[in-house]
Amino acid sequence: MDQNLEKIKTDYQNKISQITTDKDLESIRIELFGRNGLINDLFSKIKDVSPESRKQYGANLNQLKTELEEILKNKSLKVEKADLHSLHNKNNLTTTSLPKIGHLHPITQTERQLNEVFRKLGFSIYNSPEIVTDDFNFTHLNVPQNHPARDMQDTIYIKEPEYLLRTQTSAIEAYLLAQKSKELPLRAAFPGSVFRNEKVNRSNHFVFHQYQAVVVDKNITIKDLIGTMDLMFKTLYGPEVVVRYRSKYYPEVAPGVGPDMQCFSCRGQGCPLCKYAGWIEMGGSGLIHPKVLEMAGIDPKSWSGFAFGMGLDRWTMAQKHIKDIRTLMGGNLAYKPNEL
C-alpha cells in the first residue's frame, strides 16, 4: 500500500477505535463508503494515476477498502455487544429509536403554573426550612399552646415540643414575615412539602404539598384577595371554573375566607367525590391576623396583608386520574418516554 493509503488506514483505524455508539459508527461508514465517500472518491482518481502504477494502486485501494470494511465490521460487533451488555446488565430490555423526553413531576408542573401567575404580579418565590420551631409553625401564627386549632394538625416532632416538621406552608409565612418585616411591601409565593403524622394508605400520606401566597402592603382588602385567588383558580382550572368564597376560620387570619370549587365530577349536584356537598374545599385564606403581623414586628395599624394556601396533591391526582395518593411519591408514577 502506498504511503497515502497507509495513512488513511491508520487515521481511520484510530477514529473507529474511539467510537462507542452505533450512530457514530454509521457516520464513519457513510464517510468512507457512501456514494460521495472517501473510497469512491479514491477510486474515481484512478484515472489520474500513471498507467504503469494504476494496477498496483487499484490493488492497494481494494486492500484498503477490505481492511476498513473489516475494521468497521469488528467495531460494529463490539458496539452492539457493548450496547447489549449495558442493556442486559442494567435493564435486560430493548432500546427505542426516538429521543427520550424528560418530564417534570406533576406537582412541579402545577407549582410552575402558579409561580408564573404570581411572578407576573410581582411576587418572589420563597422557601424556608422544613424542620421548624414551634414558634414558626404555631405560636407566631396565633396558635398558642393548647389552642384547639392545634388539633387540626397531627404533628411529627423532631424534638418535642420545640422542633417539628412543618405541618403547613403558613410556617414559611411566619418565617418570611419575621425575616422581611423591615423590607415592606412584600409579595411572595411558596410551594412546599408539609408533614402530618398520618398512617400512609390510599387516601392519606404523612407528606403532601401546599402552595401559599402572602402579601403585605398598605390597604390590602378582601377584594384584592378574592380577585387574586380567582385569577389563580382560573389559570389552573380554566376560565369556566366556578368558585365561591365564604366565611372560614383559620387562626392566622381575620377575616377568614374559604374558597370552594364547584365539584368537577357532578357540577354541583352532589356525588361521593364531594361528599354530596356539590362543592370541594380548595384551601384557606384571609387577611393576615393583626396578632400575626405584630408577632413578626410589623405594625398592623400601618400595614395589612392577605395570605392564602391550598393543597396541590388532590388536584394533581384528579387531573392525572391517580386514585392512590402514594403514587405521587412512589415508584409507580412514570412517564411515557416518547410522545408523538
Binding site: 435493564n91 427505542t96 427520550k100 366565611s247 361528599k275 411519591m329 412517564y335
Partner: protein, 616 residues
C-alpha cells in the same frame, strides 16, 4: 354536627327557607354544611363547625347566627323554674379552680322510664342511642345549648359531690364499662369514697337506670385546656369532651339548666328537693373594643353601609356605645366610632378584626367582585438564589430526557447513624428518619421501576437531605440523578455546567448526588433575577475585543464587574472574558475581553471601548 330543621325552627319560628337554601346559607356564613337527609320524616343537616365557634355546637348558638342573617326573631324555650321551695343546701364542694361554673340541684320522687318518641327520634337523628328519659334529656340539652351536663343517681353517688383534681383514685369505669387508669392530673367529680365521673364522661358507679328516683343534676363549664389534656391523656373523646374543650359561655348555663330541670319534671314527675347550687367564682369581663364602622368597607374593598354594620352587631347581641361626641375644635378622628362589647356567648370576638369579620360575613362574601386581582407592582425580588438554580437544573435535566420523581423524605434506615435526624413520634414504621441522602431514595425508586419492568429508567430528584451537628439540625438542597447508562450520566453531568464540589457529591454506580447548597458561590452560575425591561435595538450590536495584561492573577468575574462599571450600563450589552493567558517568561496574566455594545455607531462604540480599557 347534626341539626334537625324542625328543632331549629323552635328557636326561629319564622324560619321558612328551603332546606337546600339553608344548607348553602349556613355554609356561606361559615358553617360548612355537607348535605341534608331525611330521617324519620325529619330533615337533618350535617355541618362542620369552626373550631373557634364552641357556641355553635348547639342549636342555640347556630340559631343566633341565623337570626342575624335572616333578620328573624330568636325565641329560645321559656325556662323559668317555678318550683323552688326547698331550703336544703347540697353538700357539694369545689376544690379546684379548673371549674369555671357549675350549677346543680337535687330532684326527688322521680319516675324514670323509656323516653317519649319525640326524644328518641331526636337522638336518633343525632346518632345517639336512647337510654332512658333522664339520660336522654341530659343529652338533648347538650345538643340544644352545647353545654354538657350530668345526672347522678344519689342512691349510688350520695350527695357529697366533690369537684376536684384527682389524688385518691387509681381507676375509673365509664358508663360504657371502659376501665381507665387515672393519675393525679384528672379533673373529676367524686365523693369521699368513689370516683364518680370525669369532667367529660359519666361513670358506671352512679349511672342512671330505670330504678333511679332521685338525682343530682348538674351543668358545668371547665377550664378547656384541662379537659383537652385529660381527654388526650385518657385517649377518650366524647360528645362532651368535644364541647368542653371549646371556650364555652358560663352565662348560658342557667338557661340550659332551667330548661333541663323543667323537662325532667315534665317527663319524669318529681320535685326539686334542694336549693340551687351555683359556683361561679370568676365572672369573665367582656372587653370593650374600639370599632370604626367605616373599616368594613376599607377591609372588604366594597361599600358596606355603616348603618348595616351597626345594625348587624346590634342583632348579634353586642352592646354598642358611641364614642364621646367631638368637643368643639377637636378634629381628632379617634373620637369617632363606637365601643363594642360582644355578647358573652361569642368568645371568638376579641378585637376589631373579629367584629369586621362578623359584619362582612353577614353582608356576604358573594357580593365581593372576583375579577379584580392585585395588579403588578415592582417590589424587590427576595427569591433565594438556589430556587433559580433549582428551576434551571430541572429544565436542563428534563431537556436531557430525565424524568423528575419525588420520594419520601422520611425513611426507615439511616445511612449514617451518628448524624441522623430522628422523628420522635412518627406512626409509620417506614418513616422514622429524615433521609441523609437522595441516593437512598433513588435506589428505592429504581427498585420499583424494575419491579414494573420499566425500560431505560433515567430520572432525578431535587429535595432536602438532613443531618445533625450537635444540637443543630442541618438541611440542604440536593440533586440526585440516575441513568441506566453510567457513561451517559457522566456526559450529561458535564452538560449541566455545575461547579462540582467534591465533598458534596457522591457517586454509586449509575447514581450521582450533588449537594446544591454546597456549590461554590451559587450566584456566579445563575441568572440574576431582573425586571425584564425590553430594549428597542436601533442598530447592530458591535463586538470588540480588548487585551489587558496584569501582574497578578485576578478573578475574571471581578474583572467583568469592574469593567462593566467603567463602561456603564447604558450601552453595554454583554461583557465576557474569552481567554486567560499566563506568560511564564514575564509572569504576567493576559485577559482577553469581548465587549458587545448596543445602540451605538461604530465610531462611538470604539471610542468608549478604548477609553474604558485604557487602550487609547
Amino acid at each position: 354536627m347534626k341539626i334537625i330543621y324542625s328543632q331549629l325552627q323552635k328557636f326561629l319560628p319564622d324560619l321558612q327557607v328551603e332546606p337546600k337554601q339553608l344548607r348553602d346559607d349556613l355554609t356561606m356564613i361559615g358553617h360548612f354544611t355537607n348535605f341534608f337527609e331525611e330521617i324519620d320524616n325529619e330533615i337533618v343537616f350535617d355541618l362542620d363547625i369552626k373550631v373557634n365557634r364552641g357556641d355553635c355546637l348547639g342549636y342555640y348558638g347556630l340559631a343566633r347566627d341565623l337570626s342575624v342573617y335572616y333578620n328573624l326573631e330568636l325565641k329560645p324555650p321559656k325556662s323559668t323554674i317555678y318550683d323552688l321551695r326547698s331550703n336544703y343546701c347540697l353538700p357539694i364542694k369545689v376544690t379546684t379552680d379548673k371549674v369555671k361554673r357549675v350549677i346543680a340541684v337535687k330532684i326527688s320522687d322521680l319516675k324514670n322510664t323509656v323516653s317519649p318518641q319525640w326524644l328518641q327520634t331526636f337522638l336518633k337523628c343525632h346518632n345517639t342511642n336512647s337510654i332512658n328519659t333522664i339520660v336522654d334529656l341530659t343529652n338533648y340539652i347538650m345538643f340544644l345549648y352545647g353545654i354538657p351536663n350530668h345526672a347522678f343517681d344519689t342512691s349510688k353517688s350520695g350527695q357529697d359531690l366533690i369537684w376536684e383534681i384527682n389524688s385518691k383514685f387509681k381507676e375509673f369505669t365509664s358508663l360504657d364499662g371502659s376501665k381507665l387508669i387515672l393519675d393525679n392530673k384528672i379533673l373529676m367529680i367524686n365523693n369521699p369514697q368513689k370516683a364518680l365521673s370525669l369532667s367529660f364522661w359519666g361513670g358506671e358507679a352512679c349511672a342512671i337506670d330505670s330504678n333511679t328516683n332521685e338525682i343530682i343534676v348538674e351543668l358545668a363549664v371547665y377550664d378547656r385546656n384541662t379537659v383537652r389534656q385529660n381527654s388526650r391523656q385518657l385517649k377518650s373523646v366524647t360528645e362532651a369532651s368535644v364541647r368542653l374543650e371549646k371556650d364555652l359561655d358560663p352565662e348560658v348555663i342557667p338557661q340550659a339548666f332551667n330548661n333541663l330541670v323543667n323537662l325532667i319534671l315534665e317527663n319524669c314527675g318529681g320535685q326539686i328537693s334542694s336549693q340551687i347550687f351555683d359556683h361561679y367564682p370568676n365572672k369573665t369581663e367582656i372587653p370593650s373594643i374600639e370599632f370604626d364602622p367605616n373599616k368594613a368597607s376599607l377591609v372588604s374593598g366594597i361599600e358596606i353601609p355603616q348603618d348595616f354594620a351597626i345594625d348587624c352587631l346590634t342583632r348579634l347581641g353586642c352592646e354598642i356605645k358611641k364614642k364621646a361626641s367631638l368637643s368643639r375644635g377637636d378634629v381628632d378622628s379617634s373620637t369617632e366610632g363606637f365601643y363594642i362589647q360582644a355578647p358573652s356567648i361569642r368568645k371568638d370576638i376579641s378585637i376589631e378584626a373579629d367584629l369586621l369579620e362578623e359584619v362582612i360575613r353577614f353582608w356576604g362574601y358573594q357580593k365581593i367582585p372576583t375579577n379584580q386581582p392585585l395588579v403588578f407592582k415592582e417590589i424587590q425580588d427576595i427569591t433565594p438564589k438556589e430556587i433559580y438554580l433549582i428551576e434551571k437544573l430541572k429544565d436542563q435535566l428534563t431537556s436531557l430526557g430525565y424524568d423528575e420523581i419525588l420520594s419520601w423524605p422520611l425513611v426507615n434506615s439511616p445511612t449514617d447513624q451518628e448524624n441522623v435526624v430522628t422523628t420522635q413520634n412518627s406512626i409509620n414504621s417506614e418513616a422514622i428518619y429524615l433521609r441523609q441522602s437522595l441516593t437512598q431514595s433513588l435506589i428505592k425508586q429504581l427498585d420499583q421501576y424494575q419491579r414494573f419492568k420499566l425500560p431505560n429508567p433515567q430520572f432525578f430528584e431535587i429535595g432536602k437531605v438532613f443531618s445533625k451537628e450537635g444540637d443543630n439540625f442541618i438541611e440542604k438542597n440536593a440533586l440526585g440523578l440516575y441513568h441506566y447508562n453510567a457513561e451517559q450520566l457522566q456526559s450529561d453531568l458535564k452538560k449541566l455546567d455545575l461547579p462540582l464540589v467534591k465533598e458534596g457529591s457522591r457517586e454509586i454506580d449509575n447514581f450521582i448526588e450533588i449537594i446544591i447548597d454546597d456549590l461554590l458561590k451559587i450566584d456566579k452560575y445563575i441568572p440574576q433575577a431582573v425586571n425584564n425591561n425590553a430594549i428597542e435595538l436601533t442598530s447592530q450590536i458591535i463586538t470588540l475585543d480588548a487585551n489587558i495584561t496584569l501582574d497578578t492573577k485576578e478573578d475574571p468575574i471581578n474583572l467583568i464587574k469592574k469593567y462593566s462599571q467603567i463602561i456603564g450600563d447604558k450601552n453595554l450589552w454583554q461583557l465576557i472574558v474569552t481567554d486567560i493567558y499566563h506568560d511564564t517568561k514575564t509572569n504576567k496574566y493576559r485577559y482577553t475581553f469581548q465587549a458587545s455594545y448596543f445602540n451605538l455607531d461604530d465610531k462611538t462604540a470604539k471610542k468608549i471601548h478604548l477609553k474604558s480599557f485604557d487602550l487609547e
